[in-house]
């Protein structure tokens, strides 16, 4: 919502510097997004008449314009706009002018042609948002006159305010002035319009019938006679322009002016074209067609509201736009002026469905003041009176369902308990009355009547917010509550930090791809195509939620490779979303760790898992060879912790890499952290350190490729028992000496007792026990 300081002052003697007023507006919850000083920096801009228009010999996008800047001489200007004709009056920034934006106008050559100034768009002179064409001035101005004079531009301040959805009252200049006056403690009043009534009363000429009271809370009509469509007075069109409304004609301008000033949208009908002068408010018939003012035929649904005439022909879409069939024009003399209160939810739905959101629908959606109608009608008539329009007696009015307004008991104690203040009843009453809330003392408390322009207020807490807002948030003392609890992270949150620090400690970089995928991404990664889909994605690339971290990381690798960044070690911790196995309220959402080591084979990923299992003390795990779609069929193992599968380690299937455009091998680890961290881990019991010497023995076994090294290791661990303090696989040999399809696994065992030095005989016996166990339970033979 834009407001002019001069316009605010029509309602209250607002004081202070522009910046200070801006701060007060922000502090009232009407955040100033932009403040502009109007009418400044326009000193060098004069009215000029277009004498000739010629193409630039050497450029398409600019033309040469000769103008008369008041001295009768032709002055050549290069101009990038083409909206003017010979004889038009336009603003010329003369040489030496410093524009409001700081640019200084100098004589310069553009593609070989001299330009002796600059013709200005409305935006360039601070009038409105139109930056496309040159501002065309009234024929009445004379060349050479200062633009500020020609346009009657005084200096003014324009505030662009951000108005929250709960403040429809602040969608009007008067509403903003009311708040500001309350803050400044100056009187506020909306002047009584000077609109004399004459002629045939409206009663009898128009009639209103509300057939759907849920749609229309109030429908008021007045009749204006002697209306001629002309141009608005300069002061009025200047104000509209400043607020971003392009002046159209006197009737449309008056309509917009009243809406901006008082917040009441309105519509005018050519009364002569309304059959029977009847206005019947009903829901549209499904499929009912109406041609709106913009010349578009629109098909309505039963959810839209319409105004129909005596022949039941729709003459407008409720709260959205009028129909072409009753549009006022040159032949119009009598006008029916509508000011209504529409159900906000209906208007919101219609505007959205029809794609017709406007200044009017924005106000109806938030909830207008149903009681401003009478005043706003008379204000409208007052604006058109100088052009000869007269207001017929009588307001023809019908009411449907309006929100009930109850008196609210506001407890002084409650106000202070919520705000942490120490306000007494009378101070609270004073604050509320300053914004036209009724406040009657009842003992130590207040009975508060909420004004009709504040549809957001219906409960005690709403009133408490108003007290805080007008009293000033900044005046409320600051305290810090003392938490009686101990702040902490949960064990899982601590573990997640351990996961991340372990990964970064291993030299891996954390990535955070968006969790959206394109259709086909999951399948290309070898995953099921049943990802959760987005109902209303903006683009297809964001239409599927990831069921795995795999696609996102592969895309990341491909992206980086395209920038010649290869050999990367990446990890991600993030949620994946899957169709649940059994029906449940929400999808199966869990947190995963994924690791990709580009340029590495599966062993690299196993090393990462092994470091992670150490960091989390998840020691009871096994790797079980498994074929998993999307992962390398013969280089992948399932990770079981305490017998429960928690993820996979290995390599990405080369076919998947090809599909994602990744040229390197990629070692891969993915772990379901929710499952893993729910299993026993983290227990780190102390094992006493032996003071006795240890003995080392090495054992090498020949096994076939189908026997996992882990199986041999487990067997050795079991047979050596507590005396085995360390076991490592220190060599794997494949070659002629062991033969095709076989390999030799060499293990080093360190044996040690906590209570004695092991004798040679004990060590020898243990060694034999290990050999017997391995050879006895596995297809393995001791290598000599």
């Amino acid at each position: 919502m834009k407001v002019l300081l001069s316009w605010l002052r029509d309602f209250a003697p607002i004081e202070g510097e522009p910046g200070q007023i801006g701060d007060q507006l922000s502090d009232l919850g009407l955040a100033v997004e932009e403040m502009s000083m109007l009418g400044e920096g326009l000193d060098g801009i004069v009215v000029a008449r277009v004498l000739d228009l010629r193409p630039h010999p050497d450029a398409d996008r600019i033309q040469l314009v000769d103008v008369d800047a008041g001295d009768g001489e032709a002055l050549q200007i290069c101009c990038g706009a083409f909206n003017m004709s010979v004889g038009d009056l336009v603003p010329l920034a003369t040489l030496g002018t410093v524009m409001p934006g700081g640019m200084e106008i100098a004589r310069r050559k553009m593609r070989g042609e001299w330009s002796n100034g600059m013709l200005c768009s409305p935006t360039e002179v601070g009038l409105g948002d139109d930056a496309e064409g040159i501002l065309l001035l009234d024929r009445g101005s004379s060349p050479g006159a200062a633009l500020t004079e020609a346009l009657d531009l005084g200096s003014d301040v324009l505030y662009d305010l951000e108005v929250n959805p709960n403040r429809p009252d602040a969608m009007s200049v008067a509403g903003v002035a009311r708040d500001l006056a309350a803050r400044q403690g100056v009187p506020f009043a909306i002047p009584e319009p000077d609109a004399a009534e004459s002629g045939d009363p409206a009663t009898g000429r128009v009639a209103v019938e509300i057939l759907d009271p849920g749609l229309c809370g109030r429908f008021g009509l007045r009749v204006l006679d002697g209306v001629s469509v002309g141009t608005s007075p300069r002061w009025l069109s200047n104000r509209l322009t400043a607020l971003g409304q392009r002046p159209i004609n006197s009737v449309v301008d008056a309509s917009n002016y009243v809406m901006l000033e008082l917040g009441q949208p309105n519509h005018t009908y050519d009364l002569g074209r309304v059959a029977g002068g009847a206005f019947r408010i009903r829901r549209a018939a499904e499929g009912e067609v109406i041609e709106t003012l913009d010349g578009v035929e629109r098909t309505l649904t039963a959810a839209d509201g319409v105004i129909a005439d005596g022949d039941d022909i729709a003459i407008g879409i409720a709260g959205i736009m009028g129909a072409a069939n009753t549009e006022i024009g040159d032949g119009t003399t009598s006008v029916a002026l509508e000011m209504a209160w529409w159900d906000p939810i209906s208007i919101s739905a219609s505007a959205r469905r029809l794609g017709l959101r406007s200044e009017a629908s924005a106000r109806f959606e938030r909830g207008c003041d149903p009681e401003v109608v009478d005043l706003a009608m008379r204000r409208f008539a007052e604006l058109l009176a100088p052009a000869g329009a007269t207001l017929a007696p009588d307001l023809v009015d019908a009411r449907g369902d309006l929100p009930a307004r109850a008196t609210i008991r506001v407890r002084t104690g409650r106000v202070n308990a919520v705000l942490g203040t120490d306000l007494d009843r009378d101070r609270i009453a004073e604050v509320l009355r300053s914004i036209e809330f009724g406040a009657e003392p009842v003992g130590g408390d207040l009975d508060v009547d909420i004004p009709s322009f504040r549809p957001d207020g219906s409960t005690e807490i709403d009133v408490i917010e108003e007290v805080a807002r007008v009293h000033g948030y900044g005046r409320i003392g600051r305290t810090v509550p003392r938490s009686t609890l101990t702040g902490h992270l949960t064990p899982s949150q601590v573990d997640r930090r351990t996961v991340r620090s372990t990964m970064s400690g291993l030299g891996l970089d954390e990535v955070m791809p968006v969790p959206f995928l394109a259709p086909g991404d999951l399948e290309a990664a070898g995953l099921a195509a049943d990802g959760i889909t987005v109902t209303n994605p903006l683009v297809a690339e964001e239409s599927v939620m990831r069921a795995s971290l795999r696609p996102g990381i592969l895309k990341t690798l491909a992206y980086n490779a395209s920038h010649r960044l290869t050999g990367l070690g990446l990890f991600e911790v993030g949620h994946v979303y899957r169709q649940p196995a059994t029906e449940q309220p929400l999808p199966d959402e869990r947190e995963y760790l994924a690791v990709a080591l580009a340029g590495h084979e599966a062993g690299g990923a196993v090393a990462v898992w092994s470091a992670l299992s150490d960091a989390l003390a998840a020691r009871d795990y096994s790797l079980v060879a498994e074929s998993v779609p999307g992962l390398h069929p013969s280089r992948t193992a399932r990770i079981d912790v305490a017998g429960i599968p928690v993820g996979h380690v290995g390599e990405i299937d080369p076919g998947v890499l090809e599909a994602y455009g990744v040229a390197e091998r990629v070692a891969w680890l993915e772990v379901d952290l929710d499952t893993l961290l729910g299993l026993p881990h983290g227990d780190k019991p102390y094992r006493g350190l032996s003071r006795y010497p240890s003995s080392d023995i090495d054992l090498a076994f020949e096994v076939d490729e189908g026997t996992p090294a882990d199986a041999v290791g487990r067997c050795l661990r079991e047979s050596a028992g507590d005396l085995l303090v360390d076991l490592s696989l220190f060599d794997v040999y494949r070659g002629d000496a062991v033969g095709e399809g076989r390999r030799s696994l060499a293990f080093a065992l360190r044996l040690q007792a906590t209570d004695r030095t092991l004798t040679d005989a004990e060590v020898a016996e243990l060694r034999q026990r290990c050999i017997d166990a391995v050879q006895g339970s596995l297809p393995a033979t001791l290598r000599g």
């Binding site: 929250n164 942490g420 400690g505 109902t535 209303n536 999808p587």
Partner: protein, 332 residues
Amino acid sequence: MDMDLDAHLTDAAAAVADASDLDALSVVDTDLLGKKSLLATVRSQLGEMEPDRRKEVGRRVNEVRTGIERLVAQRRAELAAGARAGVLEAERLDLTEFDLGRRLGHRHVVTQTWERLEDLFVGMGYTVAEGPEIEDEWHNFGALNFPPDHPARDMYDTLYVDYGEPQSTLLRTHTSPVQIRVMEEQEPPIYSIMPGRVFRSDTADSTHMPVFHQIEGLVVDRGITFGDLAGTLEAFTTAYFGSGFTSRLRPSYFPFTEPSAEFDIRRPDGSWLELAGCGMVHPNVLASCGLDPEEWSGFAFGFGLDRLALMRHGIDDLRELFRNDHRFLEQF
């Protein structure tokens, strides 16, 4: 004989000094002190001397011998030190050859900001709560006092997912639904923050992403006031940004808080930055979680986490956080 011994000591000193390495010194050592040395010869002749003379010469031989031994030991130490220095010199390394720029991995800059905020609030007595990113309509809107079809829902460009009834399940538009989950699951007092990932139907540009991160705060206890909210955010401002920063609250609107406010911070240069939405938990929200608003009150706040990460490092494009260019990742 006395003269001979004196001269011998002088000669011996010269011979020891001349020994250029440990092997040569060993030969000299044998010559001077061995069984065939002059001293050994003289000693063997002592028995043939007069007792007085024998005593005199014997003492003198011992003196010379001790002197030579000391000289040899000194020289041996010198030569050994030299030899060791030679060996060590031969091991000389250019250590700059090994400065290969080896690096740790990097946690994502969003993670770093996330954890920094967690640590700060844990220090203020808060716990950290989390919730699902795919939410139901009730937790994201209904329980937060957004009536069905209320225009306030338009403040959020919601992405829905095809799950259950149409428009029943969505990508949470804010972390506020976690407030509801916490209040449903836990009795007050509640002092929690809720960091997490949120979604909006937005086209990516330098300040917007369809996915980003927020951190929510919720306090519910007896006697919590708007002043507590202001004070808590001021304490946070100073702790997170530094002592040169202050804060203010401005009236705003959110369906789930009332009074509602925008939380702005003031930079040391005097400029203001809008950082968060906040307010007193709306009585309807407390009631929808089964809490009596007359007994319990609370405040909530929520702000964009990514922007804090951008601010800390002077990153000018939000998209960079999600592009995962390695040249970006390794900077933090």
